[in-house]
């Protein structure tokens, strides 16, 4: 009896795995637009449903319209790295003139860059940076450290260049955590009147940000500003400060400009957040890819600047998400 159940469960397991992997094999048959004289760009995007990425795609589409004789084929990997790999292989088979890719993950990305290089097709990586990205034709994105610098500089301005800073880190070891905090600290170093009095991690999470802030408030240390690696943790800090009746004494800053965070900016609770320019990255990525397809020389790293969001300009960003 027990032995038979084991077999049945094994079969069920194998069946579900085969279902899982079977889906990956679906081949994308994007139509080939191989007309003479026309530049064809293959754009491999990770997820059409993601709101932020949809703005990036809009940026590409708008730029494509301004270009003569350029055709862009968009494919959706549905956040599946395996699927993205076969899509890139299809682009290579179709002999597109250049590939624009936003990798699903940074682990599988080098392999796709390698495949394009072997086929001698220029490949431009957008938004998500990884080790070995220099093997690609070019990278277009925003430099994480800049967002930390921008965020901290605005806070320093609000504090008049002096005060006690508490830094709330994301998951320790993530690229964004390391760089954003590094950016914060670079700015703090410039001001002798500012120092980091507390530093902890809340793992990008609102509930954990709230708990960390509650604990900090119990420590009795004077805090003038809480600088968080992302908006969710900043919102957690705001909620803890509000419950303790101390929100008016402390400046809270985040990064990402998520729709929730923009509401907090509008209410004046979140003083600063930083927006990663989605359209700018999309447009920049396509621009570089077209140049590369034409055989022109391109810069290896192309940085798209971040944008600072405060109460003064928040409405314009709220509109972006609607």
């Amino acid at each position: 009896m027990k032995g038979r159940m084991k077999w049945i469960s094994l079969v069920v397991l194998l069946f579900s795995f085969s279902l899982l992997f079977g889906c990956n094999k679906q081949q994308e048959t994007a139509q080939s637009g191989d007309k003479p004289g026309k530049i064809v760009i293959g754009a491999a995007l990770p997820d059409f449903d993601d709101k932020w990425l949809s703005y990036l795609q809009d940026g590409m589409k708008e730029y494509a319209k301004t270009q003569k004789d350029v055709e862009v084929i968009y494919v959706d990997a549905m956040n599946d790295a395996n699927k993205q790999l076969s899509q890139v292989e299809n682009f290579i088979q179709q002999k597109v003139d250049a590939i624009v890719i936003i990798p699903v993950d940074t682990v599988s990305a080098p392999q796709m860059v390698e495949k394009a290089n072997q086929a001698n097709i220029p490949i431009v990586v957008v938004n998500r940076i990884f080790d070995g990205v220099d093997k690609a034709t070019a990278y277009v994105g925003s430099e994480s450290i800049k967002s930390g610098i921008m965020q901290m500089e605005e806070v320093a301005k609000m504090l008049g260049g002096k005060g006690n800073i508490a830094i709330m880190n994301g998951q320790m070891g993530h690229e964004a955590q390391i760089k954003r905090t590094e950016g914060n600290k670079q700015v703090i170093k410039k001001y002798p009147g500012m120092k980091v009095v507390l530093e902890g991690t809340a793992e990008w999470d609102r509930a954990k940000g709230m708990s960390l802030m509650e604990n900090w408030l119990q420590s009795g240390k004077k805090i003038d500003a809480v600088v968080a690696n992302n908006d969710e943790m900043a919102i957690g800090a705001i909620m803890a400060l509000e419950a303790a009746g101390k929100l008016n004494d402390v400046i809270v800053a985040g990064i990402d400009a998520t729709p929730d965070a923009l509401e907090y900016v509008k209410q004046g609770k979140l003083k600063v957040t930083v927006f990663q320019n989605a359209k700018g990255q999309g447009q920049g990525g396509l621009e570089v890819a077209i140049k590369a397809a034409k055989g022109e020389k391109v810069e290896k790293f192309n940085w798209i600047p971040y944008e600072l969001v405060t109460k003064d300009n928040v409405d314009e960003y709220i509109k972006k998400w609607q």
Partner: protein, 334 residues
Amino acid sequence: MESQVSVTNKREKAGVSSTATSKDKLYRFFDRYGMLMILIGLVILMSILSPTFFTTGNLLNIVRQMSVVGIVAIGVTIVIITTGIDLSSGSVIALVSVVAASFAHPDTYPVIVPILIGLGLGLLTGVINGTIISKANIAPFIVTLGMMTAARGAALLFSDGRPIGNLSPSFLWIGQGDVLGIPVPILIFALVGVISYILLNKTKFGKYVYAIGGNEQAAVIAGVNVDKYKIFVYGYAGLLSGLAGVILTSRISSGQPTAGMMYELDAIAAAVIGGTSLAGGIGTIGGTIVGALIIGVMNNGLDLLNVSPYWQQILKGVIITVAVFIDSRKNRKS
């Protein structure tokens, strides 16, 4: 704190005769209260290191922060006593969080609706776990791992990957309100503790739970409907995850598909620190609450002392291992 049944089980396992010498008594005292003493030791240590640690405000703060994980840990403890495991709690919290939040907008449904939906959904996931585990006889680790993945996926699907905000004030009271100065999550945590203690120590259900964990075959032979009780046990754990999800959602004022990440491991750690044996048959509600408080005191104390996040992770790992090591020695000696 320890139930009669578990003490007998443990002594049978250790092969100890029932004549108690004075040395034996001392070990039994450690056996029962060892972890409580470690908790008290930690509290004293933190109070010396940080002048703001031992204040009413901060102590309430610690218990409030641990309420969510503590409630989950109580359910997980009962599961582990039956030699099972539940890895799905954190994901169930996320699923309950987004679904309950979507019924908790102001001026839509009365506050009881999102609460009941949250509890019901938690119960449902638990009953599914329990039914597959007992009827299809698949290892709890695999079944609840599957639920962990599926529930997280369902939470993301339901919410489109985004937080759900704009919740009614009466719903927010569950996680943010207080009664006579005591935060509501703490009151719920205490209530769950008392109910679970009674369930485990004063009812037939509790007796059978320990019996199943002690020796499942013997329980079957003795006529216990093991399948039924396993479904109850996983159902109860699911229900408590649902409750934890409702509290967490209310506390952070939004339903989050990424909420509760890794909470299952904190809950299992609390149970194990509290003396629950992963081999089954041994474990108490009081022990688990002490275990949860040890984790809470560590988190809070290390934050107060502004220990670097890297060191915090190392210290937490060391303290958990050392605590369980000290605790396990008593079992060998007795």
